[in-house]
């Protein structure tokens, strides 16, 4: 009997450890960049939705691909029409968790490891990347840079422009999340 109580207590402790504590933003920033001999391709998205559950250490992102702004209008049209096909696959999202000790009551920058699934162009792939989480005045600020390969997400690049578009794309993430009430 004692053992059963102990077991239940242990499970409860394990569960209680994973209470929810949500931090949310609707104006997160994600950009991607690839440097090529002919032209650099860079696009910014300032309308990224992100949520961090600091209790369960879960994290999720979603964004509209059409919200990526390019310095060249034609690049933007080609990105949406030919590459990510944003009519068919309007959203890209990420769900996952992070590991690392983050003290929410103490301001500072904490190193974390983010692990999860990234969906682009209807294709879901596992992603793992180091990142930082900063606690600052009750806010959570996430920063991360990682690379991905368009080909992994079935984004085909025709041979005529293959030299113009990098195999590797650098993605920069900056989110400033406020506690949700």
């Amino acid at each position: 009997m004692k053992k059963i109580i102990l077991s239940v207590a242990l499970i409860v402790v394990a569960c209680a450890n994973s209470y929810s504590q949500l931090y949310i933003t609707r104006t997160g920033y994600i950009s991607f960049f690839s440097q090529m001999p002919l032209e650099d391709i860079k696009a910014d998205n300032n309308q990224v939705y992100a949520v961090i559950d600091a209790g369960k250490k879960n994290i999720a992102f979603t964004l509209l691909l059409k919200s990526f702004l390019f310095p060249k209008e034609l690049q933007q049209e080609h990105f949406n029409e030919n590459y990510v096909e944003s009519d068919k696959y309007p959203k890209s999202n990420f769900t996952g968790s992070y590991a690392g000790d983050v003290q929410l009551d103490k301001d500072g920058v904490y190193k974390i490891l983010v692990k999860g699934n990234l969906t682009i162009h209807g294709v879901t792939k596992p992603v793992e990347t180091p990142a930082t989480l900063e606690v600052k005045g009750g806010k959570l600020i996430g920063n991360c840079v990682f690379t991905l390969q368009p080909e992994d997400y079935n984004i085909s690049i025709p041979s005529v422009v293959r030299d113009k578009i990098a195999k590797q794309v650098t993605v920069t993430v900056k989110i400033e999340c406020n506690p949700s009430k």
């Binding site: 394990a14 939705y49 999720a60 209008e73 034609l74 949406n80």
Partner: protein, 303 residues
């Protein structure tokens, strides 16, 4: 015994942890928020190029973009093997288009057909938006002016004014799906001089065109320009019908076309098309446009 229980507890805790880790409720929160805050967005890429074949589309260079356009038509297919089925002859229009703002574009051109200069101004009045379909259509206004400079022996009275013609078009376009876009263009034409008193100086025509995408980078296009009869009577003119195949490669759009119109400018193909498809008066040719960035573009979003 104890080890088993510890393992069991560990396993249960692990299960619970896993269940939490794969919790997709966070994404649901975001998706709900995204849906609640959804703003309409401009529909892009209604057409690939500035022309369906001869008819201008609602596409135009963005602010600071310049387009160099080459439109080329060989001779008539029925002109016989001596003329290599038309390939010996050519009509060419060279054009430059520039986006002053994202809504306002201007262009100039020169055609070898009657040595014609032309110029246009195009303004995006309305832009189709997606999402909750606030704006079902894109509407642009297009004004053109043309002046042919070819010497015609014995017709020395033809001064600049007499050689000038104007058109005013309303371009109504809708992208129905990723693949299908349709455009209708009611047109008013004015010729300062017409050949006889029975010909009208002020004409009305209406064009219709469509593109159907085969792949992301290729499409087939068709265009029919209807000129109601009784407006041009001194010469036999026919409605213009054209077919095209678009190939897009990066900053280029390459269009292979077939048309019974030899000219490529509004005041000429709409009311001065003398060729007929069923007689084989078909002009094969191509349009090429090349985009250049002259200034940085500022993206705009609907308010």
């Amino acid at each position: 015994m104890r080890i088993k229980q510890i393992l069991l507890v560990g396993f249960l805790s692990f299960l619970f942890y896993q269940a939490n880790a794969q919790d997709s409720s966070l994404l649901n929160i975001l998706n709900d928020s995204l849906a609640a805050n959804a703003k309409p967005m401009y529909v892009t890429g209604t057409f690939k190029a500035g022309h369906i074949v001869n008819m201008q589309t609602v596409e135009q260079p963005a602010q600071g973009d310049m387009l160099f356009v080459i439109q080329h038509r060989f001779g008539q297919l029925n002109s016989g093997s001596y003329n290599f089925f038309g390939l010996d002859n050519a009509t060419l229009r060279l054009g430059l288009d520039y986006g002053i703002t994202n809504r306002l574009a201007v262009g100039i051109g020169r055609s070898s057909y009657l040595k014609t200069f032309d110029s246009y101004i195009k303004y995006k009045l309305l832009r189709q938006t997606d999402g909750n379909e606030k704006m079902p259509l894109s509407v642009s206004l297009l004004g053109t002016i043309s002046n042919y400079t070819q010497d015609i022996p014995g017709e020395t009275y033809l001064n600049f004014t007499y050689r000038t013609a104007y058109t005013l078009q309303m371009l109504l376009a809708r992208k129905f799906s990723t693949r299908l876009s349709v455009e209708v263009t009611p047109t008013y034409l004015h010729y300062n001089l017409v050949p006889t008193v029975n010909d009208k100086n002020d004409l009305f025509a209406v064009g219709t065109g469509a593109r159907f995408k085969l792949t992301n980078r290729t499409s087939i296009n068709a265009e029919y320009d209807y000129l109601p009869s009784g407006q041009v009577v001194s010469t036999n003119v026919y409605n213009s019908f054209s077919l095209g195949y678009d190939i897009e490669t990066g900053g280029h759009v390459f269009q292979l076309v077939f048309s019974n119109s030899q000219s490529m400018i509004e005041s000429q193909y709409l009311a001065q098309t003398t060729g007929r498809w069923n007689k084989g008066d078909i002009y094969f040719g191509f349009n090429i446009s090349r985009n250049f960035n002259v200034a940085k573009h500022k993206a705009s979003t609907p308010k």
